[in-house]
């Protein structure tokens, strides 16, 4: 524990940290407060976090203004599919790149690594025509395929490879003696041992998909198919001006569950991101 020289130093220390924390905490509080204020109160010059009139109807209106429950479900199921798919494909490929000696693996690894940093903006135009050609416009398929096989999937593969590299190969010897196939060894021995890496990759991938914005914007036009980020930007009046009270209510519905999970599993989530940053 750091010891403070005097109560005054300690007070200064906490005060300066608290001031620094304001732009990180206040937006969340102001969002929650705006979510239950009537529109008129939002435009009045009041800095009070407590609404004068509580308007819980804002939350109900979010669901009647657009198919918000449906959009919420879309985001959930897409993120789940992307996460499950990415975990399977990236651990499979990561395992082979770490453990199996085969011609071309070095070159493949190099090609994959070079894609780690590439933003989706570079390939989005051809992917638009590709999806059109496949007849997948205005479906969720691009939102599932592009993260799985783009730089996010590559990052996952690379992280899994790094983890398998660090696993002692002797752990697999017994299984090999028993005559297990490569897939058997991977599935029954290596994969169960890689739970920490799977958790980290799973967390990053889920949040990546959950927060995706450019792809839904480009590929979806049907409001029923929208995902949360796209839906959030859509609470506007007839003149295209934001309906702040609905926007804040909808945004808090999207943000709060993630924040609760984050606070509950704070250490695990932070470490997952640290891992991706260090390796990436």
């Amino acid at each position: 524990m750091t010891r403070f020289h005097s109560p005054f130093v300690r007070a200064c220390w906490y005060l300066s940290l608290a001031i620094l924390a304001v732009p990180f905490v206040f937006p969340f509080l102001w969002m929650l407060s705006g979510a239950v204020k009537p529109q008129a109160e939002i435009f009045s010059s009041s800095l009070s976090l407590m609404p004068k009139t509580w308007r819980w109807e804002n939350y109900a209106e979010v669901f009647s203004y657009q198919p918000f429950a449906r959009q919420y479900f879309n985001s959930l199921y897409i993120a789940t599919v992307v996460t499950a798919g990415t975990l399977f494909l990236s651990s499979l490929a990561g395992y082979a790149l770490a453990r199996i000696r085969f011609a071309g693996s070095g070159l493949l690894l190099l090609v994959l690594i070079s894609a780690l940093m590439m933003p989706e903006e570079v390939t989005i135009i051809p992917n638009f025509f590709l999806m059109k050609w496949f007849g997948l416009m205005n479906t969720h398929a691009p939102l599932i395929l592009l993260p799985m096989f783009g730089s996010q999937g590559v990052m996952a593969t690379f992280l899994m490879r790094q983890y398998f590299m660090a696993l002692p190969p002797e752990l697999e010897d017994a299984a090999r003696m028993d005559g297990l196939s490569r897939f058997g060894i991977f599935w029954k021995v290596a994969l169960p041992l890689s739970r920490p890496a799977l958790a980290a990759v799973g967390i990053i991938t889920f949040l990546f998909s959950w927060n995706l914005f450019l792809e839904p914007l480009v590929f979806l036009s049907d409001i029923e198919l929208f995902t949360l980020p796209l839906a959030l930007s859509n609470f506007t009046d007839a003149y295209g001006l934001p309906l702040w009270h609905l926007q804040m209510a909808a945004t808090s519905l999207a943000v709060i569950p993630i924040l609760i999970v984050y606070i509950a599993a704070q250490r695990q989530i932070v470490e997952s991101f640290a891992l991706s940053g260090v390796k990436g």
Binding site: F26, R101, N211, P229
Partner: protein, 301 residues
């Protein structure tokens, strides 16, 4: 026995090779279709004049690049905006990340709470963050200007004012992303053995000297990684711009990634937009190579 032994060895190796390729094939095939293919295609597109509205595509060679680099005044303006954005965001982000990391790398009562707070925007959707900050930064009734009014400052309409929009987007983006860099710096700081500092302290070094002569050089590899992640991240910024300013006012926040989107999907200039995407690609590759060179150079020390 002597005859079959080499053969079984060979088949084992062949079996391994087949297994290896089977394991990597799903991601490799997908990667070729949805990444490598499009990367090649975008170069091809960039050599055509292709307008989605007229549905005509003609080969024009390097015209789109010539157009971007010498004809179209927008391009240099956009590139300048992207560089201003990066030049504003990267130092601010890294300085704040390092400051927070130094403050929060050693245990004290409440340290976990502060780390949790500074990292929270990282797990929050960029869209949500941008929307809430747009709400905070409104001209008249925005919370930021009301707070400023308390101390007698008449705040501008941040996101609609040509002098302030870029600044506001940069700062809110720093708040969104600084937590990740902070965590990376904390991890690096915690891996530095405490003996180094204690030894230097015994020699009579001041806190600043310890930082400048010991901590900072030992952080160099981390600083490099963070710098590349942050620079690339700042070049691809899209959602913040799209939601907070829409590239305005007076194109003052029109950055490269947003310009690509606008040209391709709002104005349907596919060829020109593809050329811009190739330019973004080259920029990022150049930056990544620079990183590798810098890293190799810094290693022998």
């Amino acid at each position: 026995m002597t005859q079959t032994a080499p053969r079984t060895k060979l088949t084992l190796r062949a079996r391994e090779a087949i297994a290896g390729w089977l394991f990597v094939s799903p991601i490799t095939i997908g990667f070729l279709i949805f990444f490598v293919g499009p990367l090649i295609a975008v170069v091809g597109y960039s050599l055509t004049e292709w307008n989605l509205l007229t549905r005509q595509s003609t080969f024009v060679g390097m015209d789109n690049y010539v157009d971007a680099l010498s004809q179209n005044p927008d391009f240099w303006h956009v590139l300048k905006n992207s560089l201003v954005f990066a030049a504003g965001l990267v130092p601010l982000n890294m300085a704040l990340a390092l400051t927070l990391a130094i403050a929060l790398s050693r245990p004290f009562r409440g340290v976990v709470i502060f780390r949790t707070i500074f990292f929270a925007p990282v797990v929050t959707a960029a869209v949500a963050w941008a929307i809430v900050w747009s709400f905070l930064l409104q001209g008249e009734s925005g919370a930021v200007n009301q707070m400023l009014a308390v101390v007698g400052i008449d705040g501008p309409n941040w996101l609609r004012h040509p002098d302030w929009a870029m600044f506001a987007v940069i700062v809110t983006r720093v708040f969104k992303t600084v937590g990740l860099n902070m965590i990376l710096y904390i991890a690096a700081l915690q891996s530095i053995p405490r003996d180094y500092e204690e030894a230097a302290r015994l020699e009579g070094a001041s806190g600043w000297q310890v930082f400048r002569l010991i901590t900072w050089p030992l952080l160099a590899p981390t600083t490099l990684v963070i710098m590349v992640i942050t620079v690339v991240g700042s070049l691809k910024v899209f959602d913040h711009i799209y939601l907070m300013t829409g590239g305005g006012p007076e194109n003052g926040t029109l950055v490269l990634a947003f310009y690509i989107y606008e040209q391709a999907f709002e104005f349907f200039n596919v060829g020109y937009a593809a050329a811009l995407a190739v330019i973004l690609f080259v920029l990022i590759v150049a930056l990544t190579i620079t990183q590798v060179i810098l890293k190799q150079r810094s290693q022998p020390q």
